[in-house]
């Protein structure tokens, strides 16, 4: 019997969460919240998912409930978007600093002001330094599979994971998705083993004030100071690169689908021009690469799946032969350039090669991005690429 169903990205994410056996869901229905929270609520109400659904008064509280529930040993889930995610910002730091394996879907949408409910990736990019792992999906199958993978990754390294997917482009668009079998998911995803359980039997004070120095506790253990704890978080994220890759490989062994670990490549073997992006924009870029190739331009695509941890070695390997690197992104660090572009430049610095890296901002606030436009944007920079011009002003695609 075929287990393929037609569904939206939000439905796919909800099925992923149900199959992962989440025990607590907390979410706030602000605009913009996606249908995902609503579907999870229905799943709990109908008894399809045996979980506690906590209605809260804000996203800040939604993450606080997730933190609390995770601290007593529950597998937890939440979802948000845009300004809701920004309101959660402080608690994102608490979740990562407490090393709690919370999984959250971020349905990527533009941030106000001015108001928008449409897609770009400014919301999650603005959470770059919260200590969360960020995975960007390019289709609805990958959303479902990534939610399941996210729990395994998070619970291995004790770092929360944000599964990001483009609002409307994926969240409200229907695609065929294969639903994994529940018993196979249970085997792939062992029960959550917390690093610490807060309970009356073993009382603990979590996250006490830490000082700039180390402190000896009453049992003679030299407890780490604030800086050591932060260093442990960095070490965990560094380690998570391999865990993400291994999880992707193991998932492929069981379910037959490999979404590519920390990054994926398309027609890069002989490519001279590399288009780089994240999420559905990178997916669109694969069609742009086909268009460019039909005109004799050897183009390929590198899709960044994990933005944090940033896959520096994989990026260097994938881009080392490129003669030109074109970064397309749906967010910008105001006053400079796209954040992904800056980071790719930083990673490529160590290679000693100086292929020009140009930046294109596209699709902010839901502006449609067509593969033809991406291909045209790429072609517009070819003369400068061939001249070896190291820098080019950031181009706003299809703007003004």
């Amino acid at each position: 019997m075929s287990r393929v169903q037609i569904m939206t990205g939000n439905q796919a994410a909800a099925i992923g969460a149900v199959l992962s056996g989440v025990q607590v869901v907390a979410a706030y229905p602000i605009t913009p919240q996606s249908q995902l929270a609503e579907i999870m609520s229905q799943n709990v109400e109908s008894g399809k998912l045996h979980a506690e659904y906590v209605r809260v008064e804000s996203e800040h509280s939604a993450m606080t409930v997730c933190i609390s529930a995770s601290t007593v040993g529950a597998r937890v889930f939440t979802a948000t978007s845009a300004n809701g995610l920004l309101y959660m910002h402080e608690q994102l730091h608490w979740a990562a600093g407490s090393r709690l394996p919370i999984v959250m879907c971020c349905v990527n949408r533009g941030v106000g002001a001015p108001w928008t409910i449409f897609n770009d990736q400014q919301d999650s990019l603005a959470q770059r330094d919260t200590g969360w792992i960020q995975i960007y999906c390019r289709n609805n199958q990958e959303i479902l599979d990534s939610v399941i993978q996210a729990y395994r990754i998070a619970e291995t390294v004790y770092v929360p994971v944000m599964v990001c997917y483009d609002g409307f482009v994926l969240s409200h668009t229907m695609m065929p998705v294969e639903v994994p079998e529940a018993d196979k998911v249970r085997a792939f995803l062992p029960p959550y083993v917390p690093h610490t359980v807060l309970s009356p039997e073993n009382p603990k004070n979590l996250n006490p004030v830490l000082f700039p120095w180390k402190r000896e506790d009453t049992e003679g253990v030299l407890c780490d100071g604030y800086m050591e704890m932060r260093c442990k978080l960095q070490t965990a994220l560094d380690r998570s690169r391999e865990v993400i890759a291994e999880t992707s490989r193991s998932f492929a062994d069981v379910f037959g689908r490999d979404h590519g670990g920390v990054l994926w490549e398309y027609r890069t073997d002989d490519a001279e021009i590399m288009l780089v992006g994240m999420g559905s924009l990178a997916s669109e870029a694969t069609m742009a690469a086909d268009l460019l190739r039909s005109e004799g331009i050897r183009a390929g695509v590198v899709g960044i799946r994990a933005f944090r941890p940033f896959p520096k070695e994989d990026i260097r390997r994938a881009l080392q032969k490129a003669k030109g690197i074109l970064i397309f992104e749906k967010s910008i660090s105001y006053g400079f350039e796209g954040g992904l572009c800056s980071e790719i430049k930083a990673v490529m610095y160590a290679t000693g090669k100086r292929a020009p890296i140009y930046n294109f901002i596209a699709g902010l606030g839901g502006r449609d991005v067509k593969s033809g436009e991406l291909a045209e944007a790429a072609k517009s920079s070819l003369a400068e690429l061939e001249a070896g011009k190291p820098e080019r002003p950031t181009e706003w695609v299809n703007c003004g």
């Binding site: 004070n205 979590l206 049992e219 003679g220 407890c223 604030y226 704890m229 442990k232």
Partner: protein, 95 residues
């Protein structure tokens, strides 16, 4: 060689002194005049408001009452609450 901190997240147990010796934060020290203290005078458990109100739990409700100066931060709440004013807050640099 000290034992290494193996905790994944920062935490501590509910033991006395987990926050370090907090008594050295003090600039005012509580000094008790037992002859004015109601329980001590009555020789039985009486008001013990100092014990009840102390936010640090460093007052021992005995006869006489005792204050653990290793952890007393010198907030003065005990002195404020004491009905017969048996506790005086004295500057630490004056004996």
């Amino acid at each position: 060689m000290k034992k290494k901190d193996t905790n994944v997240a920062a935490m501590c147990g509910p033991q006395i002194g987990e926050g370090g010796k907090t008594g050295d934060w003090r600039s005012l020290r509580p000094v008790i005049s037992h002859e004015r203290c109601i329980p001590f005078q009555k020789k039985k458990s009486a008001c013990f408001l100092c014990w009840l109100y102390c936010p640090e739990g460093v007052v021992k409700a005995g006869l006489p009452i005792e204050i653990n100066l290793e952890y007393c931060k010198g907030c003065g709440i005990c002195a404020e609450e004491c009905p017969p004013k048996a506790i005086l807050m004295v500057r630490e640099d004056k004996s």
